[in-house]
């Protein structure tokens, strides 16, 4: 419980500082376009890494593919490509993942 508040406090401060420093101190400096691009690519790299970590789960020191997660993610990816709707796509992925869990494994 204490840890959650500690976490919230630390994240709140570090996130606010990143916003404030940008407005107050970085404004007059020319930032290189490369750095700009690099920063913009960071979130997608982190999201991809998170996905890998959730699809390949360590069991007894070995990596195994979680089929419900993998197939659920693919379903969501296809759904959002077609519908462009966030929540329905998430729900579709969960439902497909659940079906895989109960019927295939």
């Amino acid at each position: 419980m204490l840890n959650q508040w500690l976490l919230i406090g630390i994240l709140a401060i570090s996130t606010y500082l990143s916003r404030l420093i940008g407005v107050v101190f970085m404004a007059r400096q020319k930032m290189s376009p490369s750095l700009r691009l690099y920063f913009n690519y960071v979130p997608i790299a982190i999201i991809a890494a998170l996905l890998v970590k959730q699809i390949f789960v360590p069991t007894d020191g070995q990596l195994t593919i979680s089929l419900p997660v993998l197939i659920g993610c693919i379903s969501t990816a296809v759904a959002i490509k077609i519908t462009r709707l966030f929540l329905p796509s998430v729900v579709i992925g969960i439902v497909v993942g659940l079906l895989v869990r109960y019927f295939l494994i």
Partner: protein
């Protein structure tokens, strides 16, 4: 006065569709937060004090994977680097707010940046516009977190497949942005790097940070190559 009214009206109209989108992310965040043992109070508090979709969603997903406080913090710092860019780009447009700028800075993130830069280009500095847009996003974000956490608390995670909600949410966040070689290259590189790191040491604490640092270099390289070709 008339001008002010006009600004308020425009800001509301332009922010509303995005506020709805933000609410759907917020709903997911709220549900996911309860899956890593956040209470209604702490889940909503995080939205009140942090107010960052990417930072909060990544945090709960990392906690679900058993990450430590320090690796969550380092990853969030890495994620937040782009706020420096946004702040720098928005500074001139927010300048008339004077001492209130420090307060407005709290609202800097992806969506307000997009809206405000196009507004400032059109009419020049306009802190009021920014304040209304971010205010609407803030309310949407907090309310959505509240309802998400409320729903999450009522459901049995295994039965409803809420453990599946983490990866699936990230797939939904990732896929719409996959446009252009550099971005796709970054994602492919990130996938390979993360898989290698996990293969070498399953459950690796550093996978996300190292991938977040290295994979964007591949995107940068691809961007340069396409531009110079």
């Amino acid at each position: 006065m008339i001008q002010k009214k006009e600004t308020i009206k425009t800001a509301c109209m332009e922010a509303l569709p995005l506020a709805l989108a933000i609410a759907t992310y917020g709903l997911s965040y709220g549900v996911l937060a309860t899956q890593v043992k956040f209470s209604l109070l702490t889940a909503v508090s995080m939205s009140v004090f942090v107010f960052s979709g990417s930072a909060q969603l990544v945090t709960v997903a990392m906690l679900a994977g058993g990450a430590s406080l320090i690796s969550v913090l380092l990853t969030v710092i890495l994620l937040n680097l782009r706020n420096l860019l946004y702040g720098a780009a928005l500074a001139e447009g927010l300048a008339p707010a004077k001492k209130w700028t420090a307060l407005l800075a709290f609202g800097i993130s992806d969506e307000p940046f997009v809206l405000a830069t196009s507004r400032f280009k059109k009419v020049g500095p306009d802190p009021l516009y920014f304040a209304i847009v971010t205010g609407m996003f803030y309310i949407a974000w907090i309310l959505a977190a509240f309802f998400g956490a409320l729903i999450g608390n009522q459901l049995d995670p295994q039965k409803w497949g809420l453990d599946l909600a983490f990866p699936v949410t990230f797939a939904a966040l990732l896929v719409p942005g996959l446009k252009g070689k550099p971005v796709i290259g970054t994602v492919l590189a990130a996938t390979v790097i993360a898989m290698v790191l996990e293969y070498l040491k399953p459950g690796n604490e550093l996978t996300i940070i190292i991938t977040g640092l290295l994979a964007p270099l591949v995107g940068l390289y691809l961007h340069r190559r396409t531009n110079h070709a």
